[in-house]
Each structure stands twice: as structure tokens, then as C-alpha cells.
Amino acid sequence: MRCGQVTRVLLALLALVTLATTGCKREERRFREVPPAADATTNVVMSTIQPGPSIVSVATEHPYDQNAYAISQGQRLYVQMNCAGCHGLAGGGSIGPPLLDDKWIYGSDPSNIFATIVEGRPNGMPSWRGKLSNDQVWQLVAYIRDMAGLHRKDVRTSRTDDMAAVSDNQNRNRQTPRPSSDAPASTQP
């Protein structure tokens, strides 16, 4: 009886330790990151129309994708870098297109978004090359995908300490991205 209990306790502990060693990516606080795809900007596919056989776009994994801390850092940068000025405080869009819907003019893949930020886009999106570190851009990428509900629920941002107009991404439904060739830019109210 005694032995049985001890074994059980040990097994439970072992399970815990296993969990611990695998870690919990959601909660990591990484302050310095070697970016996974420093050259992400060069091999990004902007359009599905291309010569030759069509390539299936493979999403570039980046370390911040399911990481709550990075997403929240992105949220902070979104305001500090005044992305909100064009895309709206809640990502609803104004001068620039909305970010919380399912339409992605230049692609919803992390590397597409990365390229959009770094390179800039016609009609007003400035290039942030050299202004933001790759780390920071990846954090922004993570947050922008967060606004469209593309992350797991448990890593998403919640409200900020601001007016209630600011989005509560945690409780919004996932906006499954539509193919980029599908829809032109449209600003929603």
C-alpha cells in the first residue's frame, strides 16, 4: 500500500518533470533572438501568379509565432511605431487597410507580413528597413497575425489599458486568411 502510493507520487513527479523539460513555448520571455530567416525578405512569394509550375507556399516558422510575450511586445510596438495611425488602434483600418479581417493583400504568411513591413508597399506603407530590428519586426508580425485571430487562443493579447475601442483579440474568432489573389484592398468601416 505504502509502496504503491510512493510509486504513484513518483510517476506523477516524473510526468511533471517531463512537461517541464519540454517547456512551454507560450510563456517564454526571449529578449534576444537570432532571427530565423534573416533573408526572409528575399525569398518571399508575393503573388501566386508566376511562370512555371505553381509553388505551394510553405509558411516560414518563426519563433515568436505562438509566444505570448512576443505578441504583446508587438502590441506595444504597434502603438509606439504609430502603425495605429493608419491601420487603426484596434486594427480596424482607416487610411491603411484593416488588419483584423481575413483579407491579406500581400499574404498572411509570417514571412509575407515581414516583407511588407520591411520593404513597404505602394500607396503609403513605408519601409521599416533599418528602422526596426528584425526582432521587433517579427514581434509586429506576431501581433498582426494576432489581430486576425491566427494564433491559438491561449497566446493572444487581451485588452490594453486604454479606451475600450482597443481590440480584445483573445475573444475574437479566427479570420481564416483568403488567398491573396482573391480580393483587392478594401477598407471597412
Binding site: 507560450r26 487562443k153 493579447t157 490594453t160
Partner: protein, 646 residues
């Protein structure tokens, strides 16, 4: 945990067998899950709390290692924040309160001569809920989801914007679990103490330990709802975007502080009052006289309980508050020294006119008085607003409250462990190891925490993961860290002592200390039914007064778990009450509560799922078994006899 083989019985063997068959735990693992015996549950509370104490101690030791020299690299800021938050949270929510609850749940029925606590199923459920809360937060901690906003979790740092992820959500739910457990235990202790006392144990004869547990329970009832409400608000702010603490939408960050400290300050006395109760109840055994000033001690405990609710703002002197209000809280904070002073003076008077016997429990009691007095002195100092504004949130405060809590909680607790260990296990702890344990701990506490006063005045703030070399704080920090090692070694000695004595300790016998109170009237360890016949009491020291013959009452049922209820004031026999016996359902209800709150962290679906599961489990929990004996009914006095149906 398992039914201990009993070596002796004080009553006729047939009666013992018959009662034991009704009261003892079921055999095996299932018995472990189904027991509603207060002794089994209380032992579990104490053992679990002690495991958390060790974990929190390891966290403390790691932090002390990090701080032993400037700009150390053992823990980074992220880890350190989790460690200090877990240390505080564990010590307050998972160790100090549950351990005192455990001690209360073990001792109160024995001290008042009852067979079990008032609501045994709820009691079992409370423990399971507490365990789920503790496992939840440590599960989180081990997978890098430990809370990192401090045990006080000030908003907005703990809010949705500045604490991303699920760390703080897990913390907030853990609070909910421990609240539920503590509130259940509080209601149980109060009801047990007021309704299940031995005949003759009128209010003025209740053992001081029981008074302390009762006042602790009342404080829990009025303090815990505050933190439960606060953590509910915080969880909602984080999970469904309410705005309680968001200034931009009409919320207020200070609201959190008010709600938290309205709980947080009484919390200190919730932990500390049972500590004083322990000292008051073991002093007679080691001074050979009843404790001096019973009425003064009881009134002091009650007064402390009241004043404790008027102190919370002294944690908030640096916030913008009107000066007049601050003065009120200063006065209250300083005046709480009076009831505490009375207790200490009464203890000294007791020792003065007694004949001290220097056994380990007394050593710990004396250590407790010394350490607590030193903590109390700095406590009065920081009641002063101007002085507090200098030392607030510095290591001076760290030193102060560790002195108070070690003196008021940990030392009495160790005294109690050495004192009641024979009652719980039937064996004595080793005296030699006990003295080593005491001296190491006593020296370690001063080495660790005394230098912190100086550090605080030299400007070292709390909750820093490191400090610069130029600050000059390195040497004293090194001393403190070495002191922590000494404390650590004393706890190791204690553990060794317990493990060794469980098997090889001297057999204790019913009353090894020749003590005065009722728990020593039964065998060690106490039988599953505690007392075969209900003891009758005619004074405050029943065992010293009754001589060789203990007066008892018979007549409680032998074929089911039945307890005697007495009146509140004079403890006259009033009625009999049947307990439901051992059952698995408290465990299952606790599980559904666990599912409810843990699912809520990740999804609103926890609400409907948890509610439905909980209701189903609870239905099974309360569903009645058939009674086997006709009831004896007594209708309320307001009902005229003519209307009684028959």
C-alpha cells in the same frame, strides 16, 4: 494515511472494536480518497502544506544564492520574478494559512472532546480543492508559467497588457481554490467549536488554541471574500476584457490595492493568531501551571482580530490618500501592539511563576517570543507614515515581516510539531535533533534577516533580481545568504528527525507531557472515533482537575457515525447528529470544481461544462442514504404542541 495499527485502548475492547468498525477509514487507496476523518484530512493538510513550505524554501534559497553577490547570474529577471512571486504566494496561500487550518482541523475536535468536525464531507472536499490549487500553480511554475507579478499582483502590471500569457490567470485561479478551501474550513472550525464541545465546556473554559482557531476562522470569513472578489475582477479583466482596473475606462488601479490589502493585512493575523494559540496551549505543559491571564489572552486574540481589519491602508502609504485617513491607520497599526503585548506579558508571567522544563517545544516557544518581539518593534515603527515612506518596499520591510512571520507562525508551528507529534503518531521526536533544529533555525533566522534591516535603510529595494556593485550591498547580502543556508540545514535536521522518529521514536503513551487539555485524554495516536464516551468538563484544565477519573457521558450510537451537539454558551447536551460516513463524492465534487476553474483559464466553455458537471456530482454528494433508526424529533418552540403531527 492508512489506518494506523493501534497499540492500546483506554476503553473496553468490544466498544473499541464496534466504534472503530464504524469510524475507521476504508482500507487501501480508495480509503485514502474517501476518508472524512478529520485527523486523516488534517494530517494531509499539514503534510501538503509542509511540502509547499519546502518548495518555497528552495525558491528562497535560490533567490538568496542569486543575491549573494552583486550582478550575479544564477537567475535572470524573468526567472527571478517568478521565483519571488512563487515564494510569497506559496508561503502565504499554500503554506501558512493551510497549515494553520490543518492544525486547527486536527486539534479543535480533540481539544473540545468531539468525535469529528462538523461537516466532514465538506472538510474532505476543502482539502482536495486546496490540493488542486497547489498542483495547478506548481504545474504552471514547472512549465515556465509561474506567476511573475508578485504575490500582491498589483494592477496594471498583473493586468492583460503587461502580463501576457496565462501566468497570472493561473495565479488568480489558484487564489480561488485556496479561498474555497479556507472558507469551508473556517465554517467547519467555527461550527465545531460552537456546537460540538464536551458538556460543561462553557465559553470561559474553551482552550485558548480553540479560541485562536475560531477567531482565525472568523477572520477568514471576512477577509477572504475580499481577495476572492479582487481575483475575480482581475481574472475577468484579463479574460473577458472588463475594465475594473483600467483607468482609461473608469476603472482604478488602486481599487485592487484596497481589496487586496483588506484581505492581505488580516491574512497576517490569520496566520499568526493560531501561532499564539499554540504557545498558550503548550506553555502549561512546560511550566507546570495553567497559563496566566486566560480572559486577557482570549480578549487579546479577539481584539487583534478586530483591529486587523483596520490596518490595510498602511500598505498603501505611498499612494495618494488623504492625510487624515492615514493618521487613522497609523493609530490602528500602532495600537495593535497592545493586545499582542498583553499576550507576551501573560506568557512571561506564566513562565515567571511556573517551573520551566527546557524541552524542544518550550525552546521554540521562547524563540518565537524573542523573534516576534523584534518584529513587533519594527512593526510599530513602520506604522509611522514618514518613516514608512522611507523604508516601504525595501529590505527593511522584508526583515520586518520575516521576523513577524517566523516568530509568529513558523516557530510556534515547529513548537507545535514537537509538542503534538506524539499525539499524531504515537512516537516522540528526538530531543537532541530537536535542539539542533532549534538552535540552527534560531541562529539562521537572525543571520538571514537581521542584516536586511540595514540593507533596507541603505536603500535596497525589495523584489530586485540583482543590484549594482557600487551600491555596497554585497557584504550584508552575503551574510544573509549564508544565514539562509543555516535555516535550510535546520529544516533538513527536522525532516530527518521526523523520518527517523516515525519508525524509531520512543513510544509516547496517551499523555507524555502530562498536559492539561482533552486531546491527551485519549490514546496516541487517537482512535478513529477520538473518544469512545464524551468527556465532561468542569474547568479549563480538565486532565489536571479530574484526577484519575474522567467523567464521561455515554449513549451515542455505536452502529453509525454519531456526534453529540451541545449548546453554544454553556455546552449543555442538546441533540445528536448523524455523520454521513466515508464517501468518494467530496473528491469528485472537488474535481468538478477544478475542471470548472481550470477550463475557465483557457476557454469560456468552462462555465457551462463545469456548472453542469458540478451540479451532477453535487446531487450525488447530497443524495440521502436510508436512515436505519426512527428519528427523535423536537419541533421548534414556536410550534404549539397541539399542531405536532403524529
Amino acid at each position: 494515511m492508512t489506518a494506523t495499527a493501534r497499540v492500546e485502548t483506554l476503553v473496553e475492547p468490544e466498544l473499541d472494536l464496534e466504534l472503530d468498525a464504524v469510524w475507521r477509514n476504508r482500507p487501501g487507496f480508495i480509503g485514502w480518497l474517501t476518508t472524512t476523518d478529520h485527523k486523516s484530512i488534517a494530517k494531509r493538510y499539514v503534510a501538503t502544506a509542509f511540502i509547499f513550505f519546502l518548495l518555497a524554501g528552495v525558491e528562497a534559497a535560490t533567490m538568496r544564492a542569486q543575491l549573494s553577490r552583486p550582478e550575479n547570474g544564477i537567475l535572470g529577471p524573468d526567472r527571478y520574478n517568478q521565483f519571488f512571486t512563487m515564494h510569497g504566494t506559496t508561503m502565504m496561500f499554500l503554506f501558512a494559512v493551510p497549515v494553520m487550518i490543518g492544525v486547527g482541523l486536527y486539534l479543535v475536535p480533540l481539544l473540545v472532546g468531539a468525535r469529528n468536525v462538523a461537516f466532514p464531507r465538506a472538510n474532505a472536499m476543502g482539502y482536495w480543492v486546496y490540493l488542486i490549487g497547489g498542483v495547478l500553480i506548481y504545474g504552471g511554475f514547472f512549465v515556465n508559467s509561474g506567476p511573475d507579478a508578485g504575490w500582491f499582483a498589483y494592477t496594471p502590471l498583473s493586468g492583460p497588457e503587461f502580463s501576457p500569457g496565462k501566468r497570472v490567470d493561473i495565479w488568480a485561479q489558484m487564489i480561488t481554490f485556496t479561498e474555497i478551501a479556507a472558507l469551508i474550513a473556517a465554517v467547519i472550525i467555527i461550527t465545531t467549536a460552537f456546537r460540538m464541545r464536551s458538556p460543561g465546556m462553557s465559553l470561559n473554559r474553551i482552550p485558548i488554541m480553540v479560541w485562536a482557531s475560531v477567531v482565525m476562522s472568523f477572520m477568514i470569513i471576512f477577509a477572504m471574500p475580499s481577495v476572492a472578489t479582487a481575483s475575480l475582477f482581475l481574472a475577468m479583466d484579463r479574460l473577458i476584457s472588463t475594465h475594473f482596473f483600467n483607468a482609461a475606462e473608469g476603472g482604478d488601479a488602486l481599487l485592487w490595492q484596497h481589496l487586496f490589502w483588506f484581505f492581505g493585512h488580516p491574512e497576517v493575523y490569520i496566520m499568526f493568531l493560531p501561532g499564539t494559540g499554540i504557545i498558550s496551549s503548550l506553555l502549561p505543559s512546560f511550566t507546570r501551571r495553567s497559563v496566566f491571564g486566560y480572559p486577557a489572552l482570549v480578549l487579546s486574540i479577539i481584539a487583534t482580530g478586530f483591529i486587523a481589519f483596520g490596518l490595510w491602508v498602511h500598505h498603501m502609504f505611498a499612494t495618494p490618500l488623504p492625510q487624515l485617513g492615514q493618521s487613522f491607520f497609523t493609530a490602528a497599526s500602532a495600537l495593535v501592539a497592545i493586545p499582542n503585548g498583553i499576550q507576551i506579558f501573560c506568557w512571561i508571567a506564566t513562565i515567571w511563576t511556573g517551573r520551566p522544563i527546557f524541552r524542544t517545544p518550550l525552546l521554540f516557544a521562547i524563540g518565537s517570543i524573542i523573534i516576534f518581539v523584534m518584529g513587533g518593534m519594527t512593526g510599530v515603527m513602520i506604522a509611522s507614515v514618514p518613516f514608512d515612506l522611507q523604508v516601504h518596499d525595501t529590505y527593511f520591510i522584508v526583515a520586518h515581516f520575516h521576523y513577524v512571520i517566523l516568530g509568529g507562525v513558523v516557530f510556534p508551528l515547529f513548537a507545535g510539531m514537537y509538542y503534538w507529534f506524539p499525539k499524531v503518531t504515537g512516537r516522540m521526536l528526538s530531543e537532541t535533533a530537536g535542539k539542533w533544529n532549534f538552535w540552527l533555525m534560531f541562529i539562521g533566522v537572525h543571520a538571514t534577516f537581521f542584516p536586511m534591516h540595514q540593507l533596507g535603510m541603505e536603500g535596497m529595494p525589495r523584489r530586485v533580481y540583482t543590484y549594482l556593485e557600487g551600491t555596497g550591498w554585497g557584504d550584508l547580502n552575503l551574510v544573509a545568504s549564508l544565514g539562509a543556508l543555516v535555516i535550510f540545514s535546520s529544516v533538513v535536521v527536522f525532516l530527518g528527525n521526523v523520518i527517523h522518529s516515525l519508525r524509531h521514536g520512543a513510544i509516547a503513551g496517551a499523555n507524555p507531557w502530562d498536559a492539561e487539555s482533552l486531546e491527551w485524554a485519549t490514546t496516541s495516536p487517537a482512535p478513529s472515533y477520538n473518544f469512545a464516551n464524551t468527556p465532561v468538563v468542569s474547568g479549563r484544565a480538565p486532565l489536571w482537575e479530574s484526577g484519575d477519573e474522567l467523567p464521561v457521558m455515554t449513549g451515542l450510537a455505536r452502529d453509525r457515525q454519531q456526534v453529540l451537539l451541545t449548546t453554544v454558551l454553556d455546552a449543555e447536551p442538546d441533540s445528536r447528529h448523524d455523520h454521513p460516513g466515508h464517501t468518494i463524492w467530496p473528491f469528485i465534487v472537488a474535481l468538478t470544481i477544478g475542471i470548472f476553474f481550470i477550463t475557465l483559464i483557457f476557454s469560456p466553455w468552462g462555465l457551462p461544462i463545469g456548472t453542469v458537471l458540478g451540479f451532477i456530482a453535487y446531487a450525488r454528494y447530497i443524495w440521502p442514504k436510508k436512515s436505519h433508526e426512527p428519528a427523535i424529533v423536537e419541533l421548534p418552540r414556536s410550534v404549539p404542541a397541539a399542531e405536532v403531527p403524529k
